[in-house]
């Protein structure tokens, strides 16, 4: 009976803090074996959702159902908590050695000393911190403390692992190394996981599915590909990196799945089926906008070609962000090599192209 259906399900949950509703989720599920990201800005409620899913927060309303059974008593809460693990944003280690910290969840479960130390040692090894076993937890660096807290969570072999901003406050190399180790261990151990993060790239690298949280509500949940490329509203679009969001009006829906959209005095061709006259938002990912200095329409197969002037060029991680004025604001990411070979500079005129399929159209909410 318990094999079918979602591993964890919440129904109609409401969480209030100081009389204010901070979480309101009608239905949400975590499926067996998936890695799910809870994506949202600071204060959106993703940490609250994580605490709720791990039964650490009092519900004002609603149900938490694990393997088909409702968690509705202290006893069932304890049983549930012994099948999950939570990694908080701060490592929250106990004042003991690294090995004893990693074994602490097993000790709480009453496991014998030799067994728990053997398992703890195994996970220290997996997280590459075996050499720290005898060190006091008070003498660890930020990265080491984080690894210890992750090893402690894995050591209990949880059915679901919850991680709250696991890579925050780490320097980039430490962060990179931890992301790749965590991805590997999740895969090796086939652990179901839910990760709260505000970083879409982290979410994209780690998870199969994403849920975008906006003001305590789930704005969109779906596969990573679906959320990244087909956001349901402007909030999700801008949060998942659709840098250009333009307001427009559908002019004509001329054949089956193509339409022209008026954006200011320009027209953008897009894929979709909205009625003429409909107010819409056109969302375009910056990496889908290509720039050239050739004359228009020369090499591009793209349906949308616009001349524009470079307003600003700014470094953006491995790319450069180019802000263009094409009669509307358009943002493109290009590599350093392209920037140099095209000799781009602020004020210069360029041609910007993007395919009709690169335009994601959303109905504008009134």
């Amino acid at each position: 009976m318990t094999a079918a259906g979602p591993l964890l399900q919440v129904r109609n949950i409401v969480v209030k803090r100081g009389g204010i509703t901070v979480l309101d989720i009608p239905d949400f599920r975590i499926e067996r074996g998936e890695v799910l990201s809870l994506l949202g800005p600071n204060g959106s409620g993703k940490s609250t959702l994580l605490l709720t899913l791990s039964s650490l927060l009092k519900l004002h309303q609603g149900k938490l159902i694990f393997k088909g059974r409702e968690i509705d008593s202290r006893r069932s809460e304890l049983e549930y908590r012994r099948q999950i693990a939570v990694v908080f944003q701060d490592p929250l280690l106990l004042d003991a050695t690294v090995l004893d910290n990693v074994a602490s969840g097993l000790k709480i479960r009453g496991m014998e000393k030799t067994d728990r130390l053997r398992i703890a040692a195994e996970y220290l090894e997996r997280l590459g911190i075996a050499h720290l076993a005898k060190r006091s937890a008070s003498k660890l660096s930020g990265g080491e403390a984080k690894r210890t807290s992750i090893a402690r969570a894995f050591a209990t072999r949880p059915t679901i692992l919850f991680l709250d901003e696991p890579f925050s406050a780490l320097d980039p190399p430490t962060r990179e190394a931890l992301i790749s180790d965590l991805t590997r261990i999740l895969r090796e151990t086939d652990t179901t996981a839910a990760i709260a993060t505000h970083d879409q790239m982290e979410a994209l690298r780690l998870s199969d599915r994403m849920a975008v949280i906006q003001q305590g509500k789930i704005a969109q949940a779906g596969s990573a590909e679906e959320v990244m490329n087909h956001p349901v509203n402007e909030f999700v679009a801008s949060f998942v990196g659709m840098e250009t969001v333009l307001t427009g009006r559908v002019l004509e829906n001329h054949n089956q799945n193509r339409m022209m959209i008026a954006v200011g005095d320009r027209e953008i061709e897009a894929v979709g089926n909205f009625p003429s006259g409909e107010q819409v938002l056109c969302c375009i990912r910056p990496e889908n906008v290509t720039l050239s200095t050739d004359s228009p329409e020369e090499h591009s197969s793209a349906r949308n070609n616009f001349s524009g002037r470079i307003v600003r060029i700014s470094p953006h991680g491995l790319f450069y962000r180019v802000d263009l004025d094409c009669g509307f604001e358009l943002i493109s990411y290009i590599t350093r090599i392209s920037l140099d070979s095209l000799a781009l500079r602020e004020g210069r005129k360029v041609k910007a192209s993007f395919k009709a399929t690169a335009v994601h159209v959303i109905r504008k909410s009134t």
Partner: protein, 232 residues
Amino acid sequence: MELILEGILKAIALLVSLDPEVLGITSLSLKISGTATLISLFLGVSTGTVVALTRFPGRKLVVSLINTGMGLPPVVVGLFVTIFLWRNGPLGFLQILYTPGAIILAQAIIATPIISGISLAAMQNLPANLRLQILALGATRLQMTWLLIREARLPLLAAVMAGFGGIISEVGASIMVGGNIKGYSRVLTTATVMETGRGNFDVAIALSAILLLLAFLINYLLTRIQQRERPR
């Protein structure tokens, strides 16, 4: 000047020769204050932990009362304990006035709020999410409470020492409820008061030196504890 110098020399002689009376008083002081500290440790840590971990109406008032209690004047405690233990007082039937038991009772009353107050602060100073983390590790409420007390063990030790330091050097209550009876209820402080009154400065200085040494040891350990770091 000569008086002081002579007093110090005689005091050293008393300490070095392990004078039986000085040793007896010291040993009785340690026994009485040690027992009172143990009682306060149990009551104080329990109260501090319960108040730190629970939310109830009037909690702020309780915290204020504990904090006020940390500065309870020993003579006031002495007065009330005397009244309660007086022959026809509410606890007169115990017949323990002017016994070491009465001093233990008074000192436990003085030390309990000190240990409660410091325990409360120690538990509240633990990271806010540590409690949730321990629960998330699968702990029962009892396991969580025990682990939190363990995490706060060093500040709790500081609480114990502050309590012990407060009562070993206290004189008002001890003299009022113990009566300073030679070989029975005479402790370091009451003996110092008496010997000073009699002009026996050598004995008074020797006793004071022992008190100072105890105070130093306590403060040295407290400083060591306070400078230790907690894990992230």
